[in-house]
């Protein structure tokens, strides 16, 4: 028996998650630049200011380090803040707080203090926003012990990961790919919290494993569909959590398919794709029938014109071609 569903956008799913969290727990509040009166730079928080007021939907000045640190401090002080940073590019101005404080304080204090903060930010390219608004720096964050990093790609995850992240005693960074906000799908009207741990197999197949996350999931699923038309059954894994990585799901799949291709919008050098490839080599080398493949962004600052932006990013045709190369067809 399935619950009633409703056509919903990713944006609405995130908004509903925030609304739900604010209703569930008086300690929850949201702060960031233009989250209130403006309604959020990607319109995620539209309407919430009127509903919850300026205390809980708190507009901040342009002070990424200041308000992210304030979120960390407020979390230590007993609140459950959701800090919204407009995009991952601007989060670089808050890296000090995230890396030197949020990630360290529990361990460095000998386990005395927790930092239950949630930091949400948009990431990724595709809107012709050029080289300072289009980064995929998830791998940098996934590098840091002490924080958890998730990338909801589906509506269920966009709707469900936030509350679980807020209940987590440790800092959680949530990446929302900008190309997902307008995506719509059917979402159960009773959709609620989901685990923030573990990867999910989004499509089953026996010939090769496509591993991806976030904004690249749909391109990868499209590629899998195209491959199916050519008689190649691709399994698609959505990582969901970028730190920790779900090695078990990846290795189990590779043990079935013996071939793997990683699709990652980050730059190839030092990427998540590199990390996953290394782990497959360490843990499943003898299962492999071919070298692990990677489809990543071209190593350039993301350019403005559409044709160049497209050329810089992983695309369906490129994924299909790389998958065929890995399968030797």
């Amino acid at each position: 028996m399935s619950a009633e569903t409703r056509e919903t956008s990713y944006r609405e799913a995130v908004r509903e998650a925030i609304r739900d969290a604010l209703r569930r727990d008086p300690r929850v509040f949201l702060m960031g630049e233009d989250v209130g009166r403006y309604g959020g730079c990607y319109a995620v928080t539209k309407g919430l200011y009127d509903e919850f007021g300026p205390e809980r939907i708190r507009d901040t000045p342009l002070s990424e380090s200041g308000f992210t640190g304030a979120g960390i401090g407020a979390a230590m002080g007993g609140m459950r803040p959701i800090v919204e940073i407009m995009t991952v590019n601007f989060s670089l101005l808050a890296l000090d707080q995230i890396v030197n404080n949020a990630a360290t304080i529990r361990h460095m204090s000998g386990g005395q203090l927790n930092v239950p903060v949630v930091i949400r930010m948009a990431c990724g390219a595709g809107r012709q926003l050029a080289a300072q608004h289009s980064h995929s720096l998830e791998a940098w964050y996934a590098h840091i012990p002490g924080i958890k990093v998730v990338a909801p790609a589906t509506l269920e995850d966009a709707r469900g990961m936030l509350w679980t992240a807020l209940e987590d005693p440790d800092p959680v960074v949530i990446f929302e790919h900008v190309m997902l906000y307008n995506r719509t799908a059917q979402l159960a009207s009773d959709a609620g919290p989901v685990s923030i741990e573990g990867a999910a197999v989004r499509r089953a197949g026996g010939d090769l494993t496509l591993i991806t996350y976030g904004g690249s999931l749909y391109k990868t699923l499209e590629a899998a569909e195209a491959l199916a038309g050519e008689g190649i059954a691709a399994e698609v894994i959505d990582l969901r959590s970028l730190r920790p990585l779900d090695d078990a799901t990846i290795m189990a799949s590779v043990a079935r398919t013996h071939r793997a291709l990683i699709v990652d919008e980050g730059w190839r050098s030092g990427s998540l794709a590199a990390e996953i490839s290394a782990r497959i080599m360490e843990q499943a080398f003898w299962e492999l029938d071919a070298p692990v493949g990677r489809v990543c962004s071209a190593e350039v600052p993301i350019p403005y014109p559409k044709h160049l932006e497209d050329a810089a990013l992983p695309q369906v045709e490129g994924i299909v071609a790389a998958a065929k190369a890995v399968t030797g067809r």
Partner: protein, 328 residues
Amino acid sequence: MTDTKLHLNREHALHLLREMLRIRRFEERCAELYTEEKIRGFLHLYIGEEAIAVGVMQCLTPEDAVVATYREHGHALARGMPMTRMMAEMYGRQEGCSRGRGGSMHLFDAASRFYGGNAIVGGSLPLAVGLALADKMRGRQQVTACFFGEGAAAEGEFHESLNLAALWQLPVLFVCENNLYAMGTALERSESETHIFRKAQSYKVEAEAVNGMDVLAIEVAARRGVAAIRAGGGPRFLECQTYRFRAHSMFDAQLYRDKAEVEAWREKGPVLRFGHWLEETGMLDPAGRARIEAEIEAELATAVAFAEQGTWEPVEDLTRDVYTERLA
């Protein structure tokens, strides 16, 4: 509520001296232990600046919060952290206040709301803003005291934090310990406006400069500030003018300042001056002084013994507490 008045009876005056001396003797011993290689890493001494931590702490309740820098031994002691657990931390022992993982620069104590020991210049100011925001949103009448050096005033986080605290009228007492040098960089070589309190005023934060060598002046100013904050008046800012008598850390050859300058400041030292004043007013005699010194010596001996007997955290626990272990 914080009493706005300073009640200077003999008992309180001797308490202030005692607290400053505890810090002084603790750190002198730390310097020795450093040369014996019992304490390693960075060690930043607060010697010369003790009046500030001691004066301000008199005005806080146990529910208030404290945020400090890597030069925080004095603040931790004055806040009431046991010297034993502090010394064990200096040694890196697991009996230390941060399980030995932080060392000198990262003293933490959840019980006394002591939120560290932060070694990123300016990095702790946003935390203080957040702690105060939590208190304000929960309707608690608590104050967060945030200590930092004048070097932090050049960091963006200083300005962001002052603006946020003023904009949201948060209960933060900002305490700038202006010892004139950020490592080897003299204030006038790094700031166009050398009156740090004026920077705070530009954010509409009530701010004043105080003689940081005078524990009574500090306590009076802090009492005023804390009372105003508790009454809902938003943040306050104290620029405490002081001087660090010792090197920046144990690695500093002090090429950037004259010995004569250091000597001149030593004459104005907070412990020296206050001790003389107590003697002049008849509140302290040599026997009384000796008694205090003996008590501190005993406390220190216990602390060193505690640290010496401390144990190393087992290597198996290396990654414990990176994340919260949750019971399934």
